[in-house]
């Protein structure tokens, strides 16, 4: 097995948490986000779909959810940027024995709000939400969602029946939104006891009823931190915006080469700015015309502009997955994305120009930004 290389971040250094099909990597950037050193691989041979940094209460704890096809998966954490990881004796995220389900993949890790520093959430496949109230020591399934009457009708998408998005409303402490492929978006307003579908206006191209209550294949949803009524949604065919916290969704695929794609990122302070990476179609999940283009809107989806400076525009048939793009909280905002061919690109100027952060990594599944 490869011996991992380690990075030694200082307080305030920008970080990238990179999950790949063959392990996890941690990249440390300089203050300008131009130069990066990459540590890893951690959990070599394991698929790492989910990583997160928990910086609450003075922690600098990185979580990862590596999964082995042989030995299964569980959550591990490090407080020293990968030098040592916890290795739980028993699986910490697992279904109750009477649930009739077996954990296949950990898809998302979300630290709770600042006022609940011991709370974390975790989205998994098959689609379920888990919560920890003791800083990740023990986990339990959110019964209200698991017992939802819609659940037997949810269907697996190409990546499996996964709960891949967890959004904690910044103004409403009891409101959580999740998204499932293929089930759609759901919201609870009572902390998880009751859930309702929130897909009005979102198309289900693959169903006879194109606008069902649920069953959409939502690929990723992001919410504006300073204006939480505003969200953007990248669908399996379809690009949407809501200005009423998801009660209704409006098609905003104006001038993009395709409205099929996986990731979507939103600006940390400008709710009108978002980034996507369109793919040609569900049958050919590669960048259209062999051009790797990120598209950016600065007017909430009324128009989109291609961003190509520094990105390959010839025979670049790349794929960026749903968690493969992330936006940091710095100013100007940094945008980073990884491809299934193992290339990691970054922009420190909101997408105006791009450079290669790393190449030759295993297929990249997820990219998260953080600050050490």
């Amino acid at each position: 097995m490869p011996q991992p290389k380690h990075v030694t971040p200082s307080n305030g250094d920008p970080l990238l948490l990179i999950g790949t099909m063959k392990g996890a990597f941690i990249a440390r950037g300089d203050g300008r986000r131009r130069s990066w050193e990459v540590g890893g691989p951690y959990f070599p041979g394991h698929a790492v779909y989910a990583m997160a940094l928990d910086g609450r209460e003075g922690r600098r704890r990185i979580w990862a959810g590596p999964n082995s096809m042989h030995w299964g998966g569980m959550l591990h954490s490090t407080d020293d940027f990968g030098r040592t990881w916890t290795n739980p004796v028993v699986g910490n995220v697992k279904f109750p024995q009477d649930a009739g389900a077996v954990l296949k993949q950990i898809w998302q890790i979300a630290p709770g709000r600042a006022h609940e520093p011991e709370t974390l959430y975790c989205g998994v496949e098959p689609a379920a939400l888990f919560v920890s109230r003791d800083a990740g020591e023990t986990w339990s399934i959110v019964e209200g969602l698991w017992n939802h009457p819609h659940r037997p009708k949810w269907q697996p998408g190409g990546g499996g029946l996964c709960l891949h998005t967890i959004i904690l409303d910044p103004e409403r402490p009891a409101t959580i939104r999740i998204a499932i492929s293929t089930g759609g978006m759901y919201v609870t307003e009572d902390g998880g006891a009751n859930w309702r579908a929130s897909n009005s206006g979102v198309r289900a191209q693959f169903l006879p009823d194109k606008y069902p209550e649920f069953g959409q294949c939502v690929h990723k949803v992001v919410q504006a931190k300073g204006r939480p009524s505003r969200m953007f949604l990248q669908n399996h065919w379809g690009l949407y915006r809501t200005d009423d916290r998801g009660e209704t969704w409006t098609d905003i695929a104006n001038g993009v080469p395709s409205d099929f794609g996986f990731p979507i990122g939103i600006h940390p302070s400008n709710a009108d700015t978002a980034w996507i990476v369109p793919l040609e179609s569900d049958e050919f999940r590669c960048t259209p015309e062999g051009k790797l283009r990120v598209y950016r809107t600065r007017d909430a989806g009324a128009s989109w502009e291609p961003l190509t400076k520094g990105l390959p525009q010839d025979a670049a048939f790349e794929t960026v997955l749903r968690d493969g793009l992330a936006v940091d909280a710095m100013s100007p905002a940094g945008v980073f994305f990884g491809t299934r061919s193992g290339k990691l690109f970054g922009s420190a100027d909101e997408g105006d120009s791009w450079s290669l952060v790393a190449d030759g990594l295993p297929p990249i599944i997820s990219v998260k930004t953080a600050v050490a």
């Binding site: 096809m69 042989h70 030995w71 290795n87 739980p88 028993v90 279904f95 024995q97 389900a101």
Partner: protein
Amino acid sequence: MAVLFIIPGALRALTGGRDEVTIDGAAGSLSHALSQLWTAYPALRDRVMTEAGDIRPHINVFVDGANARDIGGLAAPVGADAEVVLLPAVSGGCCGRPSAWARGSLPFRSHRRHASRRRRGPC
């Protein structure tokens, strides 16, 4: 008499580095034998078994050379001096070359000697 368990390389960090473990009183069914192994080395259980109580699909457990799935699964009989081998299947993205034993080209009687020489598992 004790049941001999052969531990794959990927799990030896959970058995204090041991590649072989012998446990008294483990004879009976495979379910019973494994439960005794979990008692001695609790971190092994959730790596080998799902939370539903089944052997993980890409793990093979051999009892005296026979794949447990062919001889009754967890109900398979385990003799008082049996050899129980835990192995990752060739399927599932194994990162190394499968061992001669895993490929089935080495008879199980040779395995005890083979395993004791082989300090690194296939993964």
